[in-house]
Symmetry: C2
Subunit: 508 residues, 2 copies
């Protein structure tokens, strides 16, 4: 058992429970307390530290809340597995085994509300929302890959910060802000990106905007017209739709060994490649460092070649060493880094950010700086304090635990189906992939599930060329081909996951 | 003296003071109590109604807060002049004397933070904010036409609404919303537009977006590429910059008799005309109904002709009958109506809205509906309640009074300068136009003012072709031509206005 030596101070105005909480948290983060290790019982630690037992209980409670430790019946308190925390130290160069991790060693989670192949216009967000976990006992169990769990959202904290900010003292917040977003938030995001993603930039390179879609609209103004874009296939369909709405020629390159091949990029004459290296959607593939370097070399080959790194869910990774952003390897100013808080906090928090390489920043300042910022300054300030005061990190840790529990239950429940389906994509955040071994067409799987009151999502929806996109580059499991379906679990309760999989077993 | 007969009810759960307040407000709104009329003293009304004097005082206090009545020393309480209130009844067809109003009979006010010829990138918003009224006694007095008065902002109300909305019960607010904006807010805006602007539309035609700039970006996707746009000259330069960033050919048509001439539109082959009929910026011209009908006829001439009505400051009009929106006259579905809350509430409230005619709505749904809404659902809900609960109307009435006082003081202080300057643009919201009678170039006026520690704004900034826009269609008072300057007063205190004009008198 770990020997807990805490130097409690009574003269620092910090409550004893906070000191205990802080100490244990530090030990976990420094790796001195390892995943699965047992903590002393509240009673014994209280005696040892000469404090009231309730004091230790509060500290443990806080640590449980934040997903650092978990109770096991009759056993005590144990450290939760989480090698990656939001605030990372010394993770640069931690790049060793992308391949292995890709083979499923690492489980990744995502809660990106926007990662849907179904445009909201098709009503899917409406459907999933109205049928999602929030309305109690839904007739249909919807394994939507776009729903997230809001039950963990720290409303009271958000309220408190908001209340403090909405004072007459801050009346200037209601005046116009800077076009790129307020400096304070840009500095905070800059620090966060550096420590958690290894992103190397200054606040002046950051553009804050109301959602990735908007940032891509800005990017169109910066990159110019008719830029040939290459996308991974399958991919995040909304970005595809957006590039199409720019009248950009879009080429779909099938995923091969962890990503698109630079050779193909040259063949098709792409100028911009849109990639999700840390965790490709929907396949969940992690791009190995070798492929990353190849892509960077390709981009350096011509002045107007760029890589758009959509780092949409880097926060939701559980096991294995953290994977620095592609941008952190970029020495030539070739990577446009895009991130969002839509999934790490909530889809309704319409705050995304883009890190521009210096050449493009120059173009932005010349041609786009008159576009006023699309995020209210109040929301910017709330988010800024939410991050700076450590609430963001706590929220992330808490959500990791929520989603890990759901993920593990789903995997466990799916075991009986493994005879007839290949289950993959554990890397792929809040959903898994099931691929039939018996050439059952996707359509039949969806229909059978629907018949049993379960909604699952066909992989073909995410293939460019699929869902009536007017192209036909490598759509997947489409038509008669052996089907693959996505099972999302973010918005479902444990009970719904249990019930849903049982329905599927009967149906399939 | 007006005979005040109020049927006070003690059984309706409405406090006596609220009943008195509501009754008097109603009388004013119904025109039974007229501008300048004297109210009974609190003492006499209290005796008459058999209530405590403090009850009447609270009612009067509330009415003063909202700008319905004002106290005059040693005289008592008087009804404020305000023929137009936010919630208008029977104003359709109130269209009679656009011309007369245009000749200055009507004073209009605006507080549009965005109506600047200076992109934020040029630092003007920063400068004006840091030098504005908020930081006490500024060295430079900045007659910025873009600053607004935030001292009247109802922070406590905004906080209260926010607090009530941020409850776990509303956790669904943190999930994705509808692409066009949430139905509730669209319905509220729809009602508001109908009653206050005569706009005829359904909520399904409304697109909510984070600012006008963003809505224009959407419009580019809807209208398509290379659409020849005609703009009034001088105009709102940011819209001009935005159309240019679309690679749209932009033609500047000089203002003639209340607007651009449809004949010229045909000559230049414009497909879209961007107009501000209720109150052109920066000239403050009101487009007469005849010209409006001509423009609508022009638009009906071809299927792909449209009018963009930027109704940016319709809320801030004081005298004369209200002017319905151009959209209210449109029977052919030719007007794209754009409005914003940036100025009527605060620039930081990044909520604008666009009413699409049905043909364009169809295009939007087909080509753009996958763009997720740029306004957070929380902000949408806060705004929705702010309007529905009547706070928006109260705020507007209050601000009208604030700005009217500043406007009147400025006019009064400017009298001595009338020998050497033509003062115009009383229609033009939160600023006035001064035009030299002695052919003093604009540059000299600006320099002399700056020397005296006053910042004024050259009219040439608003001329298309000016400020290095690379064109040269009718820039105004530019270079050596007789100068005209804008004096904005929205963000200045009465004391600053007094001091500022005195400095100008010495300088000029």
């Amino acid at each position: 058992m770990y020997d807990m030596t805490i130097r409690l101070q009574t003269d620092r105005g910090i409550s004893l429970y906070e000191q205990i909480y802080g100490h244990i948290k530090g030990e976990i983060r420094d790796g001195k307390l390892l995943a699965g290790e047992r903590l002393p019982s509240t009673r014994s630690l209280a005696e040892y530290l000469q404090v009231a037992r309730s004091t230790v209980e509060s500290a443990y409670g806080q640590l449980m809340d934040e997903g650092y430790i978990e109770p096991r019946p009759y056993k005590g308190y144990f450290v939760c597995p989480m090698e990656e925390l939001a605030g990372l130290e010394g993770m640069q160069g931690a790049f060793d085994d992308g391949e292995r991790r890709q083979d499923g060693a690492g489980r990744m989670f995502r809660e990106e509300g926007r990662r849907s192949g179904f445009p909201e216009s098709l009503g899917s967000s409406q459907d999933t929302r109205s049928r999602g976990v929030r309305d109690g006992s839904p007739a249909v169990i919807d394994f939507s890959p776009v729903e997230i769990d809001m039950s963990g959202f720290p409303f009271s904290v958000w309220k408190k910060i908001t209340r403090n900010i909405l004072t007459d003292a801050n009346s200037d917040l209601f005046a116009r802000g800077e076009a790129q977003g307020d400096l304070g938030l840009r500095q905070t995001i800059c620090r966060y990106l550096h420590s958690s993603r290894g992103v190397d930039c200054g606040p002046e390179q950051i553009i804050i905007g109301a959602g990735n879609d908007y940032l891509l609209l800005m990017l169109e103004k910066i990159l110019g017209r008719h830029v040939p874009v290459a996308m991974e296939n399958p991919t995040y369909i909304r970005s595809y739709q957006i590039f199409r709405s720019f009248a950009y020629p879009v080429v779909a390159l099938d995923m091969e060994q962890g990503g698109m091949q630079p050779g193909r990029l040259r063949e098709v004459g792409a100028k911009v490649a849109y990639v999700m290296p840390s965790h490709q959607f929907p396949t969940g593939t992690v791009m190995p460092v070798g492929r990353r370097m190849e892509l960077l070399r390709w981009a350096s080959g011509e002045e107007d070649r760029y890589l758009i790194e959509d780092d949409y869910d880097s926060e939701f990774r559980f096991r294995g060493k953290p994977i620095p952003a592609l941008q952190s390897l970029d020495r030539q100013g070739k990577v446009i880094y895009i991130g969002t808080f839509s999934k790490s906090i909530a889809p309704a928090i319409r705050v995304s950010f883009m890190v521009l390489p210096l050449p493009l920043l120059k173009v932005y300042k010349r041609d786009c700086a008159f576009y006023s910022c699309t995020v209210s300054r109040i929301d910017q300030r709330i988010l800024d304090e939410f991050i700076r005061d450590g609430y963001f990190e706590r929220h992330l840790n808490k959500m990791r635990k929520f989603y890990r529990d759901k993920h593990e239950l789903l995997l466990e429940k799916l075991v009986p189906l493994e005879k007839r389906f290949t289950i993959s994509g554990e890397n792929a955040g809040l959903h898994l992939l099931l691929r039939t071994k018996e050439n059952v067409p996707e359509g039949e799987l969806l229909a059978a599930a629907a018949g049993a009151g379960v909604r699952v999502y066909g992989m073909s929806e995410y293939g460019i060329g699929a869902s009536g996109e007017g192209e036909d580059a490598g759509s997947i499991g489409k038509g008669g081909k052996p089907g693959a379906v996505l099972l999302g679990f973010g918005g479902l309760s444990l009970e719904q996951i249990r019930e849903g999989v049982e329905r599927l077993e009967k149906a399939w």
